[in-house]
Amino acid sequence: MEFGLSESQRLLKENARKFFAGECPMHTVRRLMDTETAFDESLWTKMAEQGYTGVIFPEKYGGVGLGKVELILLMEEAGRALLPGPLFSTVALAGAMIDAMASPEQKKKYLEPIAAGETRSTVAMLEANARWEATDLQSTTMNGRISGEKLFVPDAKVADFMVVVARDGIFIVDAKAPGIAIQPMKIMDLTRKIYAVRFTNTPAERIGGVADLAQPLDIAATALVAEMVGGMQRTLDITVEYAKTRKQFGNPVGMYQAVQHQCADMYLETESARSAVYYAAWAVEQNAPDAAIAVSIAKMYASDAARTVGNRGIQVHGGMGFTWENDLHLYYKRAKTSETAFGDSTYHRERIARLVIDAGVASSQTA
């Protein structure tokens, strides 16, 4: 039993960190967040060359064929860099969904160009009631055409096709198809653009049923938690550096326990979220009996911890932490958008309660 990274996993993570540090430093993040879509074609091409856009897809569909653990290591580093653009929505969200339920022909048609870096995608699911259960959705299809309004769709404007979750199934819709209206939503996180998308009798290709939804949503949630952990780590690093150099009363402020203990808690929360998400990724990969619980534990813990770590980091920075110039607010805002995606901590605590209290699923064991 080994709950650390293998040599190849360690290398993948290290290379990803170097890649994002070189190709997507903070000034690039800030440049992109001021654009309409926060999308950079040349950065996307470079990510495709690294294999990032096909990281979890089978090799026969042009992917690299790696597992969920490798996916979350990549996402953790993307989160540390606060990578703007549709990597998450294309690969971990839409890609995972297609990979989980589409026919071999559909996978070939849709996953291959994603892996090659030629197309982007996203998933349109949430509606006005903001529910994550497919049974609560209003959108439906009739004679192969979909109608309904979707909210909080990430990166819809740069998607070449969208995976749409309707009450009667999961469908793929071409972005150029008739009857699609895409409106930006004015969201606090400028690095990940969010849209309202209205479909009116839009041609839709069915890829699966709503019963197939749980597993790919768990994959996406796990990937998002990993991204949150990367953001927490970066927030911690920036804060510790500041606490070492900022002096008041003649000493670095990090010498004072009121400050030092905030940093210690940030470390504890970051490491705990990391343990939870590494295990969740492994459990999902292995189809472990406790995979759903593990994902909920990770999303629940990280949803609260990412916010708390952000709060502590800004507090330690004092007035500087409250400025636009400082990077912390960018991570803070990403943490907020990630907190509610796929259900916040309240949602996942209830899901855990259903699995543990109502269904009486035995808690997991190492052995």
């Binding site: 039993m1 650390g4 070492k244 326990q257 210690a264 470390y267 534990i297 543990v356 052995a367």
Partner: protein, 395 residues
């Protein structure tokens, strides 16, 4: 990353399962609610049985009666013990902390003399570390030992000594050189608790019990051969004991926490809240789920720490994370129990309406000490701040 058991781990687990199946006592549930003074012989007998099966100290090297178990095997050991709800072992400090320190620092004669009886629970051990004026600042301790001929003469006072009332031996930290900086003049002595001049007084705590003791040493004579490690190197010896404490304790506690949350979920189905079982109340469900999740994260943090130590060979600061995590979690768990039980939560053992004969009211009070004992939460956060994050020392 591979959380499946490898062949050796599976064999270890299977052997243990077979053994536990045949040997774990069936009547522990009745005994567990009695005071420790009454159940102690029972726990002693259980440890002896484990020792006969060579399961009392799996982490110890084979030549000292252990199984040279890897950290992962140790994790498996404690999980299996939890699974069958096995009782704890009588000589907890001897097995977990002091034995390993003797193995690391002791002379061959000391190992031969002390190790077998730690394993068999024939000799129970306690720790003489904290003093009235040396708590978090342990190195400022004042109990002194003067060398007279081939004996040390010990004078001073220790406090917060678990198992002091029943201990046969004590790992005692004393000052042997008051003229050098505080960390440099300390020595560890192995002291026979039956020596003339040792007085043990019960220290009554807020639970009403006397789990801890005060120890008084008046001209207690200790043979010089009972120095553990080198004279004036006691700080390093004592720190390594504390590392054992912080490192492995979390893994063992998982046993108790798992049992508590499972039981609490069970109880939440019978206690009413707003006209329905508490287990159906949205707020109670939120809190139980949070607690359940944190217990799982505590286990995962421990496993990750074990993997890291196995890979690097160095125990890191993960002990401090675990200490903060489990102690604060344990308090939250007891608070949730209190919320579910309402006014019944405060009933103590002996009241016919007390929940589970008062183990929860006791637990509520007892866990209040968790964030203080074995290094306060404040000290643990200092350790993380300074030794992990590299922030300047605050003290």
């Amino acid at each position: 990353m591979d959380l499946n058991l490898d062949a050796e781990e599976r064999q270890f687990r299977d052997e243990l399962r077979v053994w536990l199946e045949a040997n774990v006592p069936k009547d522990w549930a009745e005994w567990s609610e009695r005071p420790l003074e009454e159940s102690f012989p029972y726990l002693r007998a259980w440890q002896r049985k484990l020792h006969e099966g060579r399961w009392a100290a799996v982490s110890w090297p084979k030549e000292y009666g252990g199984r040279s178990a890897t950290l992962m095997q140790q994790a498996i050991f404690w999980e299996e013990m939890a699974r069958v709800q096995a009782p704890s072992m009588a000589n907890a400090l001897g097995l977990g902390l002091i034995g390993p320190t003797i193995i690391a620092y002791g002379t061959e004669a000391q190992k031969k003399r002390f190790i077998p009886k730690i394993l068999s629970a024939e000799e129970i051990w306690c720790q003489g570390f904290s003093e009235p004026n040396a708590g978090s600042d342990l190195a400022s301790l004042q109990t002194e030992a003067r060398l007279e001929g081939d004996r040390y003469v010990v004078n001073g006072q220790k406090v917060w000594t678990s198992f002091g009332w029943i201990a046969d031996w004590c790992e005692l930290v004393v000052r042997t050189d008051p003229s050098v900086p505080k960390h440099k003049g300390l020595t560890v002595l192995l002291v026979d608790m039956k020596s003339p001049g040792v007085e043990v007084r019960p220290l009554r705590q807020m639970t009403g019990e006397s789990e801890f003791n005060e120890l008084f040493f008046r001209d207690v004579r200790v043979p010089a051969e009972n120095v553990l490690g080198k004279v004036n190197d006691g700080w390093n010896v004592a720190i390594s004991t504390l590392m054992f404490e912080r490192g492995s304790f979390g893994a063992r506690l998982h046993l108790q926490f798992k049992r508590n949350i499972d039981r609490l979920i069970e109880l939440s189905r019978t206690f009413q809240r707003n006209g329905q079982p508490a287990s159906r109340d949205p707020l109670v469900r939120q809190k139980l789920a949070q607690c359940y999740a944190e217990i799982e994260i505590m286990r995962l943090n421990q496993l990750r720490a074990f993997s890291r130590i196995t890979a690097t060979g160095v125990p890191g600061p993960e002990g401090s994370i675990q200490k903060i995590f489990w102690s604060e979690l344990n308090q939250r768990l007891q608070q949730i129990a209190q919320e579910i039980f309402g006014p019944f939560g405060q009933l103590m053992a002996g009241d016919s309406r007390a929940v589970d004969n008062g183990i929860w009211s006791h637990g509520y009070l007892r866990t209040r000490g968790n964030t203080i004992e074995a290094g306060t939460s404040e000290v643990q956060r200092n350790i993380i701040g300074h030794f992990v994050l590299g922030l300047p020392r605050s003290y």
